[in-house]
C-alpha cells in the first residue's frame, strides 16, 4: 500500500523540485524534497520502505540532473540506511530528532554528492560548494524538516492505523 501511494508522491516531489524549487534558490541552494520525505518516512519506523523509496527517488533525481543514473540512488540509500540505524535510538520521538537527523543527513548527502562529482572529474571548489550550496540547502531542509516529519507521520497513521484491542 505504501508503495502505491509513495511512488506517485515521489514523482510529484521530483517534478516540483526540478520545475519550481530550482527557480527559488537561496544563494545556489534548494531544498531536497525527496531526501526530506525519505528521512521523515524512515523516522516513522519503516526503514525498508524508506530505503526502497530512497532508491526510486534517487533514480528520479538522477534522471532530472546531469548525474549518471544510479549515483544519487546509491547515496540516498546509504544516507537513509544510516538514518534508520539512528532513528528511535536517541531521544525517541523528541522534537529535535527530525531536525538533528535532517541536519546531518543533508550534510552527508551533499558531501557524498560532491565526492561523486569530483570522481567524475568535475571542477569543484569545496569552499564555494559549502558556502553557496551545501549550507543554504541544509538550512532550507531544516526549515522544512518539521512539516515533513508531521506530514510523514500523518500519512503513516492514515496508511497504517494503530490496532485497537477490544
Amino acid at each position: 500500500m505504501a508503495y502505491i501511494v509513495g511512488i506517485p508522491i515521489l514523482l510529484l516531489l521530483a517534478v516540483v523540485q526540478a520545475t519550481v524549487l530550482s527557480n527559488m534558490r537561496l544563494l545556489d541552494g534548494t531544498p531536497d524534497l525527496i531526501l526530506l520525505a525519505m528521512v521523515a518516512w524512515a523516522l516513522t519506523g519503516r526503514p525498508r520502505q524508506a530505503m526502497a523509496g530512497a532508491l526510486i527517488g534517487g533514480l528520479l533525481i538522477d534522471m532530472l540532473s546531469g548525474l549518471p543514473l544510479g549515483a544519487t540512488a546509491i547515496i540516498m540509500v546509504i544516507v537513509i540506511y544510516l538514518v534508520s540505524q539512528t532513528a528511535g535510538r536517541f531521544w525517541e520521538a523528541h522534537l529535535l530528532m527530525p531536525l538533528t537527523t535532517v541536519l546531518w543527513s543533508s550534510l552527508l548527502y551533499h558531501g557524498l554528492s560532491l565526492a561523486v562529482l569530483l570522481a567524475l572529474g568535475r571542477t569543484l571548489n569545496l569552499g564555494f560548494a559549502l558556502s553557496r550550496v551545501i549550507l543554504p540547502s541544509t538550512f532550507l531542509n531544516l526549515i522544512l524538516a518539521l512539516p515533513a516529519a508531521q506530514a510523514a507521520s500523518g500519512l503513516a497513521e492514515s496508511l497504517y492505523p494503530p490496532e485497537v484491542q477490544i
Partner: protein, 278 residues
C-alpha cells in the same frame, strides 16, 4: 538474523541494484528506459512550468514596473543620442546593402534552422548548471546542437531523450566555448567560474581589448557556429608577467529568466565529447 543485519542486507541489495543501473547507464543501455520514464515526467514538467512562470510573472510585476520606469528614462536619453547617429548610419546603409547582397551570394551555407523549445526545469543538482527543454529526439534534437535565444548563446545539448533534452549552459564550469572579440578580433575561450561568473581567457597580450567589447562565438573547435553573440566585456585584466589577458564577461542571456530557447538544428558539431562526463 537480527533486525539490524537484515536492514543492512536490504540496503546492500538496493545499493547493488543502483550500482548495476549505474554500470548499465554508463554503457548507454538505459537510454530507451529513461526516455520512456521521462516522457510523462517531461509532460508534467511542461504543464507545471507554464503555470509556475505565470504565477512568478504575476508576483514579480510590481517590482518590474519600477525597474521599467527607470529603464524608460534611460532609453529616452539614449534615443535622443541615437537619432543623431541614425543620420550618419543611413549613409552607410546603402553601402551595406550592396555588401550584404554580395555576402548572400557568396554564402554557401544555408541559414540556420531553428527549433523552439520551452525551458521546463533546471538541473536538480545545484552543482551542475543546465536546463531541461521540451524538445527531444522526436523533434530532431541531437547531442551537440547549439541553443540560443534572440539575445545570444545559451549553451548546447548534452543529453537527448525522446521528448526532452538537457542543455549545458555556457556558465557551467564544464562548458567549453571558443570566442572572438568583435572589435579587436582577438580569439579567446570562455572560462566559467564556480561562482557563476564567466571569464574570457586565452586572449593574446598583443590584443587591444577594452570593456564594452562584444564577444561572439569564433567557431573554432567546431562546437558552435561562428558569430553568435555571447555577451560583452565588463572589465579587462592585463598583467605583463602573464601569458594571456583575462576579461570578465556579462552574458547577453539572463540564465535565470530563460523560458523559451531556440535549438539550431542544422549545425553539425564535431564528434561530441562531454567534458567530465561519463
Amino acid at each position: 538474523m537480527t533486525r539490524s543485519s537484515s536492514q543492512a542486507l536490504f540496503a546492500m541489495i538496493l545499493i547493488m541494484i543502483a550500482a548495476g543501473l549505474l554500470v548499465l547507464n554508463m554503457g548507454g543501455f538505459l537510454s530507451p528506459v529513461e526516455s520512456m520514464v521521462l516522457r510523462p515526467i517531461g509532460g508534467a514538467q511542461s504543464w507545471l512550468a507554464v503555470r509556475f512562470y505565470a504565477v512568478r510573472d504575476l508576483l514579480a510585476s510590481p517590482a518590474d514596473v519600477a525597474t521599467l520606469r527607470g529603464q524608460v528614462r534611460e532609453l529616452q536619453s539614449q534615443n535622443a543620442q541615437l537619432q543623431q547617429e541614425i543620420i550618419g548610419l543611413q549613409e552607410q546603409v546603402a553601402q551595406a546593402q550592396v555588401l550584404s547582397a554580395l555576402v548572400q551570394y557568396a554564402r554557401s551555407q544555408p541559414d540556420s534552422r531553428y527549433l523552439a523549445a520551452s525551458v521546463i526545469s533546471r538541473d536538480v543538482s545545484p552543482f551542475i548548471r543546465s536546463v531541461w527543454i521540451s524538445a527531444g529526439s522526436d523533434d530532431g534534437v541531437a547531442k551537440g546542437m547549439p541553443v540560443v535565444t534572440d539575445l545570444g548563446l545559451v549553451g548546447r545539448v548534452v543529453e537527448v531523450f525522446a521528448t526532452v533534452s538537457r542543455v549545458e549552459l555556457i556558465n557551467d564550469p564544464s562548458s567549453v566555448v571558443n570566442v572572438r572579440l568583435q572589435t579587436s578580433r582577438a580569439d579567446g575561450a570562455l572560462q566559467p567560474q564556480l561562482n557563476g561568473e564567466i571569464w574570457v581567457g586565452m586572449i593574446s597580450q598583443d590584443a587591444e581589448v577594452s570593456p564594452g567589447e562584444v564577444v561572439l562565438t569564433s567557431g573554432l573547435g567546431g562546437n558552435y557556429p561562428p558569430d553568435i553573440p555571447v555577451g560583452t566585456l565588463t572589465s579587462v585584466r592585463r598583467r605583463d608577467y602573464e601569458l594571456f589577458q583575462q576579461a570578465v564577461l556579462q552574458p547577453s542571456v539572463d540564465f535565470h529568466q530563460l523560458e523559451l530557447v531556440l535549438v539550431i538544428t542544422n549545425f553539425q558539431p564535431l564528434p561530441f565529447n562531454q567534458p567530465g562526463g561519463p
